[in-house]
Amino acid sequence: MKVADALPRLPNFSHAILVVRDDAGYPLSAATAFRVIDGGIELAPVKTGENVIRDAAGGALNPAGAGWRFVPRTARGWDEQDLSFPELCQRALPQARRYLVQLSAERGHEVRPQMALGWRFFLATRLPFLSATIVPVFLGLAAAGYDRRFSIGLALLTLLGGVAIHLGLNVANDIFDTLSGADEANFTPTQFSGGSRVLQYGLVSLRQMAIIASTCYAIAILIGLILVLATGPGLLWVGVAGVLISYFYTAPPLRLVHRGLGEVCVALGFGPIMTLGAYFVQTGHYALRPLVLSIPVGLLVMLILYANEIPDRGADAKAGKRTLVVRMPKDAVLLGYVASVAATYVVIILGVVLRILPWPTLLALLTAWLAYQTFEGLRAHYESPYQLMPFLGKNVKLHLYTGLLLVLGMLVATVSR
């Protein structure tokens, strides 16, 4: 903080704390009245018993005098209006690391922050975001059920495979965002953006993250191969596309998200690929209905990423992560949001009008109010990461509720068919 910025703020304070070092070497602090005069500060003299308060030259200051004046050379301060407490904590991470390094040196072994294994896994894999996988898989299963084809065993394997690839993606994304510097440069992460931060906090090592990601991908590939054997080679292409998109989302050399393709990849991966894959596993063929069903959830899951990129855009730009939100001005970003939401509902309505989707899927239109609220929040708090958080949460719910209402619509239609 500059002295010139600090001085005008001082009259907001009721008193000052004068700190000096006493003759015994102890700090001595005491409250006193003060006023700002001509770029300097005048303090009311403080009486401290036998302690002598001295000026910079070592001379004793007279506690019976009119006032003690000094000219400030440096200033430091924190105002939560300028810098939120969560951001202050993020900016303080290097100090925490320095302390842990010093403590490790004192003790002769590495000292790390602690967290229960389950919570570390929860945080590292970003488990709550699994709704992005569950919704399209359920939609594919619901579409297959509508066609009177359903195997619970294959359904569970499909879900497990989808979950594994999603968790692998989340962890790989953290690894590559850390290596590229994007997560390190982000001082305003929220629960929806900025990655899991487990690497930045030192809760999980890069090696452990690599092991988790590799294990998840291995499980996903193994399940994919079992499903290909069980249902036919037609699934292979969808599976391969899913794994490649997931891995190269942030991984070099493609780094799809750095090229403004992250949104499209997410829309494809958590839309048509998951839904059609789940449908194929049950029926052994592809069809138009699950494809149409997948488009709204693909668009809405894309909007989760898209909106989450709003608070991250500064750090992303620094790290060369040229997402759509980084590339476009605010108005264009908001227009893109509205257009995508509108396309979501138009696809559902057209699907019903063209008799591709059964009419109960129109239930999904009930979420339009939530979409409106989310848009208003994004518009109002575009520049305020932490005020955006509730609306980023609504955006996640928009995807979840719309998807689940589509599933419900398909189930109602299946039962009443």
Partner: protein, 169 residues
């Protein structure tokens, strides 16, 4: 917090201030002898003044390890809602207790909860996930050596001074 150790002869009005204080100003001797002051919430256990600091804001902890001499002011009429209001400064020797950053500081929690009941809500597992390093904390334990007390909070008047290393002055 119950304590079995012998109480220090801290002046009663200052004990009252410590027990009421939601904010105190801790001054430590930093690198090159430069003084640094940070707001802290103080707790009194009958013998020591206890404070906790996250490792995020741990420069003061490093400074105390290098030079344990500290000063604590109880100065703010809002942050120290004692009635009648007065002001005090306590000089003492500090010790950093950081053997267990994750759990060790929880021994101060009953005193903290008594002053800030909301802290229990913030300690819920899902809440802690948001800022996990904020909850990796050390305890600063200050053994008081000298107390200056200004009865009406007016520091332009001479304070009452108690030297806790010996008889009251």
């Amino acid at each position: 917090m119950q304590t079995s150790i012998a109480p220090v002869n801290m002046p009663a009005p200052v004990v009252g201030l410590l027990q009421a204080a939601l904010v105190a100003e801790l001054t430590v001797v930093g690198e090159g002898g430069r003084l640094r002051t940070d707001p802290m919430i103080p707790f009194w256990d009958g013998r020591h003044i206890l404070m906790t600091s996250s490792i995020l804001f741990s420069r003061k902890l490093q400074d105390i390890k290098a030079n344990p001499r500290v000063s604590l002011s109880l100065s703010d009429p809002v942050g120290v809602p004692a009635n009648p209001f007065s002001r005090a400064t306590i000089q003492g020797d500090a010790r950093v207790i950081d053997e267990d950053l994750h759990q060790g500081w929880l021994r101060v929690l009953p005193l903290w909860e008594a002053k800030e009941p909301i802290i229990k809500t913030l300690l819920a597992p899902l809440q802690r996930l948001g800022l996990p390093l904020f909850w990796e904390r050390a305890i600063i334990e200050v053994t008081p050596k000298r107390v200056l007390w200004w009865p009406q909070g007016d520091t332009t008047r001479e304070p009452e001074v108690a030297d806790l290393r010996g008889a009251p002055v």
